[in-house]
């Protein structure tokens, strides 16, 4: 008898708390932003940049933020539904693969706004915010080609998908603009997380004579930098200033200013200018940049630095348009 009463009491109590919880979001007006990332947010790369952006939203705009890391492709929809059902106003999926699931989940939650970073999916309440990463990739290609003595470069990509291929292809175009005969080895390791594979793929390119190594492979790319450091060669970083990883190895890094991008998305949703389309922001919007040269400043010739600076200006004023190639070329 006592047991039965206890069970009834617990069920009733549970119902009350469930009701209470449902009412809460309607009352407060705090704008709630959630983020899903494909890997750990302390990967020192792509996901770390996203996390920084989310922190900025919390600090600068006073929004309530939350995140889920290590979201596998199969779990993306569940991740979206989780936050949408909790009444989040904006859910950001950090990566190309987060686009299509957002459209599917978006149909079920028309009041929630979804933003997929670096994707190409869109619907009424789903937008893809892209950075013109290729612009920084192009500049890295130019820098790497200028610094190479063997005339061979190597770059590893994570997974062969349009957002990554674009950067690698722009890198090749940049390198070829310096030296039409340059050889650029490109390897897709098929993972964004396996550091050991990233390093081994880079070693393969070093064995073939590449002397400036680059990457666009998040966590796996850290392996590329490690390989270059071990062999005493130059490397370029990706996503944000990775110089701290290997100060005497990293010439410069591409900077994808995810905070600025995410902030733009959050602001658009807040003031009602959100549109369900593909929005691309680039160097001219302050979303793309390249990192300072740090310790290696003296090792890079003045004319190379001036050249890079000029190219950057041309990209900003629109006189140089980096072509967008989304399929791998030989």
């Amino acid at each position: 008898m006592v047991n039965k009463l206890l069970v009834i009491f617990l069920v009733v109590a549970f119902l009350f708390t469930a009701c209470a919880k449902k009412k809460a979001p309607a009352g407060d007006n705090v704008f709630k932003v959630a983020m899903l990332t494909s890997g750990p947010v302390n990967d020192g790369g792509w996901n770390a940049a996203a996390y920084q952006g989310l922190l900025d939203i919390g600090e600068k705009l006073g929004f309530e933020t939350s995140y889920t890391e290590n979201v596998a492709v199969a779990d993306i929809e569940a991740g979206y539904i989780d936050y949408a059902s909790q009444g989040y106003d904006l859910i950001i999926g950090h990566g190309f693969e987060f686009g299509d699931p957002a459209v599917r989940v978006g149909e079920r939650y028309p009041d929630t706004k979804f933003v997929a970073i670096e994707s190409n999916a869109h619907s009424d309440n789903v937008a893809s915010y892209r950075m013109a990463c290729k612009e920084a990739g192009y500049l890295m290609g130019v820098l790497a080609a200028e610094m190479s003595t063997t005339g061979k470069l190597g770059i590893i990509g994570g997974v062969e998908q349009p957002s990554i291929v674009q950067v690698l292809e722009a890198y090749k175009i940049g390198a070829k603009s310096v030296n039409p005969d340059i050889i650029v080895y490109d390897v897709y390791v098929g993972t964004f997380t396996d550091v050991a594979k990233g390093k081994e793929a880079t070693m393969a390119m070093i064995d073939k004579g590449a002397d400036v190594l680059s990457h666009c492979a998040n966590q796996a790319g850290t392996g590329a930098i490690k390989a270059a450091e071990e062999k005493g060669l130059f490397a370029t970083g990706d996503s944000y200033d990775q110089n701290f990883l290997a100060p005497n190895t990293i010439l410069s890094s591409t900077i994808y200013n995810v905070p600025a991008l995410v902030l733009a998305a959050a602001t658009h949703v807040k003031n009602g200018t959100f549109k369900g389309e593909i929005i691309e922001l680039g160097t001219s919007d302050g979303c793309i940049d390249i990192a300072p040269y740090h310790e290696l400043d003296t090792k890079i010739p003045e004319e190379v630095k001036t050249k890079i600076e000029n190219l950057k200006k041309q990209i900003i004023d629109g006189s140089l348009v980096v072509p967008s190639v989304e399929t791998r070329t030989i």
Binding site: P40, G154, Y188, V195, A196, M203, T222, K226
Partner: protein, 314 residues
């Protein structure tokens, strides 16, 4: 590529890369061979390696000493393998299920402890790494010498461990006892062999070697730790054990084969054939499946593999 010298250079660098990739697989595979020969199937190898990688990194990072790192790498692997041993020998839980649970446990535990210690940083903490040891005279052999005799301590240890394992498993009474226990624990128990003790010892060997395999990633290959740094290498090591038929040198060659396939696919990609990258990424797995296909019908699994032994049961 017309020159013979260049071709030779490619082969040698490919071989060096294969060895680098094979070390963690071989070490973990050797440990698992001991365990499986005594009838204990430990699917938690991935967890053992990850734990080994984490604890070796933490110890090396804090003390700046590689030796301490290696010791704690063994300890980390041991931690997971001892939980597996306790659960399956004492509580008679299904070994496969404990193993799977431990893989997730290890991933959660290491990620949590790593985050708890370093916080949500965007930087990557680094630890010292082992330097290659050049063996005098032998390393002076042109081309080949540099590959085989200018490696880090883990590579030499791997070869040493293969020989020692071979001697233990095939040339000692205790090695035969392990096989007996794996084939028929009840019979072994009846003639006075201590089933539990032997299985605990093989679990200790499994934990130490698996932990070392993980430690190789942090202390030799990379010099830092990241969440899920093993990325499934423990599962590949399980395949290597089956491919190598739990024979120490079989495991070594299987690991080298998988390593070579992996190293080869990166080199093939750089040739620029125009094939999609996914075709190359599949290569190591295709090779594994083909080799498994060829070994159909020659199974030599211990008869009591994966079955918990209860003395009082019929």
């Amino acid at each position: 590529m017309a020159e013979a010298g260049t071709v030779l250079y490619y082969i040698v660098t490919l071989f060096a890369a294969s060895i680098r990739m094979a070390v963690p697989l071989t070490l973990a595979g050797l440990g698992e061979s001991f365990s499986e020969r005594s009838g204990v199937l430990n699917i938690g190898l991935e967890g053992i390696m990850l734990s080994g990688a984490f604890f070796s990194f933490m110890a090396a990072y804090i003390t700046q000493s590689i030796i301490v790192g290696v010791i704690f790498g063994c300890f980390g692997g041991l931690l997971i393998s001892m939980i597996h041993a306790y659960m399956s020998f004492k509580c008679y839980v299904d070994q496969v299920i404990v193993g799977i649970a431990l893989n997730f446990f290890s991933l959660g535990l290491t990620s949590f402890l790593f985050m708890a210690y370093f916080g949500r940083t965007t930087t990557v903490p680094q630890c010292p790494v082992v330097k290659p040891i050049r063996i005098p005279l032998l390393s002076d052999i042109p081309i080949v010498g540099d590959v085989l005799f200018n490696q880090d301590i883990f590579v030499y240890f791997m070869i040493f461990a293969c020989f020692v394992s071979y001697i233990i498993l095939y040339k000692t009474v205790w090695g035969t006892n392990i096989d007996a226990i794996g084939e028929h624990p009840k019979a072994a128990d009846t003639v006075g062999l201590n089933v539990k003790k032997t299985r605990y010892i093989t679990a200790i060997i499994n934990g130490c070697l698996g932990g070392l395999g993980g430690a190789y990633l942090t202390l030799a290959l990379l010099g830092f730790f990241m969440e899920n740094i093993t990325s499934g290498k423990g599962f590949i090591a399980l395949v290597v054990v089956i491919l190598g038929r739990r024979h120490p040198f079989g495991v070594l060659f299987a690991a080298l084969l998988v390593g070579a396939a992996e190293a080869l696919q990166y080199r093939l990609q750089t040739l620029g054939s125009g094939l999609p990258s996914q075709v190359f990424i599949m290569l190591p797995y295709v090779v594994t499946v083909i080799v498994l296909l060829f070994s159909i019908g020659k199974s030599n699994d211990p008869a009591a593999l994966g079955i918990s032994y209860k003395r009082s049961s019929r």
